[in-house]
């Protein structure tokens, strides 16, 4: 099969899967969930088939439609997008297994709708990853927002509808209000919105306008959750945990930082932005978000909200790394997208498993829970250590590269931020680990045991991946070195 067909296949597979899920649900729940799993496997197989070509330097592309002259729905796979697509599609398999355990264990309603929109969201994610220009990216960006809305409002009670309103409000407001003008401005100035190695804005824009456009992009991409446009992420935690795990720790939020990174690398151009002082604010904005989100996380009692604020901080790590504008830091940004994904999905899986088994949601309820749920809390511990950046976990690798990039640029603000945030991460994760393993429960607890097997299986796999990424990260580094070719060190 030609790669063009593979690209189309990757986009369509989840959509066809969504139809199959809807039809399968009429037969039985098992058929429906089999359809989800098979779709996830097919998507993953398709995406991984494209990997060798991109690794070898190929840039497969496909133009789907020319909406109006000069504006196309087109796809072009470059290393960053390849990485993101491979990550999201692979984790979808594990997440589907987990979903089955979680949704059944919780006896959630409207499960068919849940699986259908999940599949649509994945298609949108792949569209974002493969997009060849800003227009296509925006199209799928909005599709992702809209397709995740029914997932966030899944419960349908007043609280989740209100939170979903915040979710949609922030994401649509920022994207229509800031990102769209930024994209149109780019098309007007550069005459194109194609993602091009070395950027398209050099020589077309200078002075404060560069900083302003960068601001429109960064805050327009609300999914990157740079403060003050982060409010939607804690709000999204009302969703069932599989949604929080795959979408609000991987697909949606990573689509945000992925977009920011792609815009910096392929629209502005790393060297152009480095030479332009008006863009320097981004690093400080990201650093501020890292620190303040960590401080807020310290004060959270609800486990999922704590994880959400931790995600906000970790997302800004990626933005900050991209804003350092040096080759090693750009690699660090890409690697952190992967490392954080493995770690954070594990943490969310664990939080969800705890909820399914014991209905516990608050941190102080977790005293001694490690003895009842050793697998879950073991995985949680690994995920938490990765967040802090302790070897041998994936989080260490990306921190290493971001720090190296910061030193390359003599950027001590970034260095200080990383050190301080590491301390803060430790300060909010270590107490939970201590409580779970070493504290004695105050009152005798009901013996709820472990979560359903699919959930435990999924979180064990992602915990292993978190450790595995420390040892086997060669292909990822290989892939991402290609994006910074030609950038001055």
């Amino acid at each position: 099969m030609s790669t063009e067909k593979l690209i189309l296949g990757a986009l369509l597979a989840p959509l066809i899967g969504a139809v199959a899920i809807g039809l399968g649900a009429k037969l039985s729940d098992n058929v429906r969930e089999a359809a989800t799993l098979i779709t996830a496997l097919i998507l993953c197989a398709i995406v991984w088939t494209i990997v060798p070509e991109v690794l070898a330097g190929g840039r497969p592309q496909l133009t789907l439609a020319e909406v109006v002259p000069g504006i196309e729905i087109a796809f072009r796979i470059e290393p960053l997008g390849m990485l993101f697509a491979a990550l999201a599609s692979s984790l979808w398999i594990i997440n589907s297994i987990y979903s089955i355990g979680y949704m059944r264990g919780n006896k959630e309603k409207n499960q068919t709708r849940f699986y259908i929109f999940f599949a649509v969201a994945l298609s949108a994610t792949i569209g974002i990853a493969f997009s060849a220009n800003l227009f296509t990216l925006f199209l799928f960006y909005e599709l992702l927002t809209l397709s995740t809305y029914p997932l966030v409002s899944h419960k349908g009670d007043e609280n989740s509808v209100r939170s979903a309103r915040v979710y949609l409000g922030v994401l649509l407001t920022t994207s229509i209000g800031l990102l769209l003008p930024a994209i149109i401005w780019t098309y007007l100035v550069a005459g194109t919105g194609d993602f091009t190695v070395g950027g398209i804005l050099a020589g077309k824009l200078q002075g404060p306008a560069v900083g302003l456009l960068l601001g429109l992009f960064v805050f327009g991409v609300g999914k990157a959750a740079v403060m003050p446009v982060h409010r939607w992420l804690p709000a999204a935690m009302v969703a069932p945990t599989p949604v929080s795990a795959l979408l609000h720790a991987v697909a949606v939020v990573k689509a945000g930082v992925f977009t920011v990174t792609k815009v910096i690398v392929y629209i502005f151009g790393v060297d152009f932005l480095f030479a332009e002082p008006s863009g320097a604010w981004l690093l400080y904005a990201a650093a501020f978000t890292v620190i303040s989100a960590s401080v807020v996380a310290l004060r959270q009692q609800n486990l999922k909200r704590l994880l959400a604020y931790s995600t906000i901080a970790q997302l800004s790590y990626v933005v900050m790394a991209a804003a350092i504008l040096k080759p090693l830091a750009e690699i660090g940004a890409a690697v952190h997208i992967v490392a954080h994904a493995f770690g954070k999905i594990t943490l969310f899986f664990a939080a969800g498993a705890i909820y399914v088994a014991s209905k516990k949601t608050e941190v102080h309820q977790l005293r001694g829970i490690g003895h009842q749920m050793p697998w879950t809390m073991g995985a949680f511990t690994i995920g938490a250590l990765s967040m802090i950046g302790v070897p041998p976990t994936g989080g260490f690798v990306s921190k290493w590269y971001i720090l190296a990039g910061a030193f390359q640029a003599d950027n001590y603000v970034a260095v200080a931020t990383i050190i301080l945030s590491t301390v803060l991460n430790a300060a909010y994760f270590l107490p939970i680990i201590y409580l779970a393993w070493f504290a004695q429960p105050k009152a005798p607890q009901a013996d709820h045991g472990e979560a359903p097997f699919p959930a435990v299986f999924a979180l064990s796999v992602t915990a292993l991946l978190t450790i595995g990424f420390f040892f086997f990260n060669g292909p990822v580094l290989e892939l991402e070195r290609q994006i910074v070719q030609g950038v001055s060190p």
């Binding site: 909406v67 109006v68 509808v161 407001t173 209000g177």
Partner: protein, 496 residues
């Protein structure tokens, strides 16, 4: 003489002749079938004209073989093609799918008359678009207005009567103003043919009757087009009209008046009246901005679904005017596109409303609680059209927003301000559409609404088709963009 040369005349003559025939038909079913067939024929003619225009064909036509400026001339270009498409398209969609709704709303013994009035409205609106004669425009305007008063008042809702009376008074004032205007121009130039007027007005352009005429014509047409703050007649007229009439008129009626306004202004006044371009922009731009902001704000707090959408229409007319008031090719392209795309979105929304109205006795938002449970397809169509109205990518509405913001950003500092306003009002659209979505999807259904089924099949199919058209033209916009940019070049071409 080639057959295709007669198309502009047929566009008007076909529905005009069918009207008296329909009156004679005794059976309601036959009357409906004849009206629908006529409307489809008009649509086919419009499509043929559009294809010709896209090929670079022009359609000059002299009624009865009398050459202009002595006889009445017709003319069609890409700008008119856009309008012809939406006029005949909206009429066809409404008639094709609307039978169940019309049967439930129009008394049986009045139906043939009602369909005849519909044909007259169609003929009048098409006539305004194809004619190249200023007085002829007035005649067709009266035909279409009188017919639409009848259509609006034709439903069972007695509140339509005061609304239509208001519309009648305002519409008559507007038409009279227009008539006074062309009377003055005729006095000074001795011609009613627009092309001829454009030449002859040069010698007298600085005389005060011409300036007064420009004022009367602009205000008169702005009244007919419901330009803020002359929109007061519109919300109630749309709200209480039979649902299918709302579909038809909301998609095209005001836009036709706006078309005349732009045509008159750009062909006759802009290049001849000293400082007129500046006056045009500074007079209409603030009104457009106010329309966009104030009408959207009204829609935010409106509880009746139809009136909410009617206020949104006033805001959308503001967008069209805003693009035109930039007096640039990009701005006019955006306007032309939005004429087309808004007709698609609003037509679909009102079709979905008609579906809801078949099953729900009241269109207040709280009475529509849980509508999505019982009518999922209708609400899906509503959502798609709503997204198009907001301007979400992948829908037709996005394309015109894209062009409009692009055109605004070309204008420097002022343009940035305008872009901010466009974006803000898009967000207001998010809020008012989402109020409907939340009511329909998340509120618990009222006890009376338990046994509600989907709308009748033909209405539902047409509604879904219209929703799909919103997506199709969001992904493949080549035709409307070609028409709109050609129209913009045409209008700007008269400014040299």
């Amino acid at each position: 003489m080639n057959f295709s040369e007669h198309l502009p005349a047929l566009q008007v003559v076909v529905p005009l002749l069918s009207a008296p025939l329909i009156v004679l038909l005794r059976s309601n079913g036959l009357a409906w079938a004849a009206a629908t067939a006529t409307s489809l024929m008009a649509f086919a003619i419009a499509v043929a004209i559009t294809l010709g225009v896209l090929d670079g064909q022009t359609f000059p036509y002299s009624m009865g073989g009398w050459p202009a400026p002595y006889g009445i001339a017709l003319g069609v270009d890409s700008f008119s093609a856009i309008l012809l498409l939406i006029v005949s398209g909206a009429s066809s969609f409404a008639l094709l799918g609307g039978r169940p709704s019309l049967n439930s709303q129009i008394e049986a013994h009045r139906q043939p008359l009602f369909y005849a009035a519909w044909m007259l409205a169609l003929a009048g609106l098409s006539g305004i678009v194809v004619t190249a004669d200023a007085f002829n425009i007035f005649v067709f305007m009266e035909i279409s207005s009188l017919a639409s008063y009848v259509l609006i008042a034709g439903g069972p809702d007695r509140r339509a009567l005061p609304s239509v009376f208001k519309y009648l008074v305002m519409g008559t004032i507007g038409a009279t103003f227009y008539l006074i205007g062309i009377g003055l121009v005729y006095m000074m130039t001795g011609t009613l043919n627009l092309a001829d007027m454009e030449v002859r007005i040069q010698g007298v352009a600085d005389q005060s009757p011409i300036l007064v005429a420009a004022g009367f014509i602009t205000i008169g047409l702005a009244l007919k087009a419901a330009v803020f703050p002359l929109h007061a007649w519109l919300p109630n007229a749309y709200t209480y009209a039979p649902h299918m009439v709302t579909v038809f008129l909301a998609a095209c009626a005001t836009k036709v008046s706006l078309y005349v306004l732009l045509r008159f202004d750009f062909f006759v006044f802009q290049q001849n009246l000293a400082g007129h371009a500046f006056q045009f922009a500074t007079f209409l731009m603030p009104l457009a901005v106010l329309a966009v902001v104030v009408a959207s704000a009204y829609a935010l707090f409106e509880r009746n679904l139809k009136r909410l959408l009617a206020f949104s229409s006033v805001a959308q007319i503001g967008y069209i005017l805003l693009g035109a008031s930039l007096v640039s090719t990009a701005g006019l392209t955006a306007s032309g596109l939005h004429v087309f795309n808004h007709a698609l979105a609003k037509g679909t929304l009102f079709l979905a409303v008609a579906c809801l109205a078949m099953r729900f006795s009241s269109l207040h938002l709280q009475d529509l609680s849980g509508a999505a449970k019982s009518m999922p397809l209708t609400m899906a169509a509503f959502c798609i059209a709503g997204l198009s109205l907001i301007g979400v990518p992948g829908t037709a509405g996005f394309i015109s927003k894209w062009y409009l913001i692009g055109a605004a950003l070309n204008e420097g500092a002022l343009g940035i301000g305008l872009a901010v306003i466009i974006v803000l009002s898009s967000l207001m659209a998010v809020v008012y559409i989402w109020r409907v979505v939340e009511a329909a999807y998340f509120h618990t259904p009222n006890t009376s609404a338990v046994n509600i089924k989907e709308a009748p099949r033909e209405l539902l199919i047409i509604t879904l088709l219209a929703a799909l058209a919103n997506i199709y033209f969001g992904v493949n916009s080549a035709v409307p963009v070609a028409l709109a940019s050609d129209a913009a070049n045409l209008l700007m071409g008269h400014l040299q």
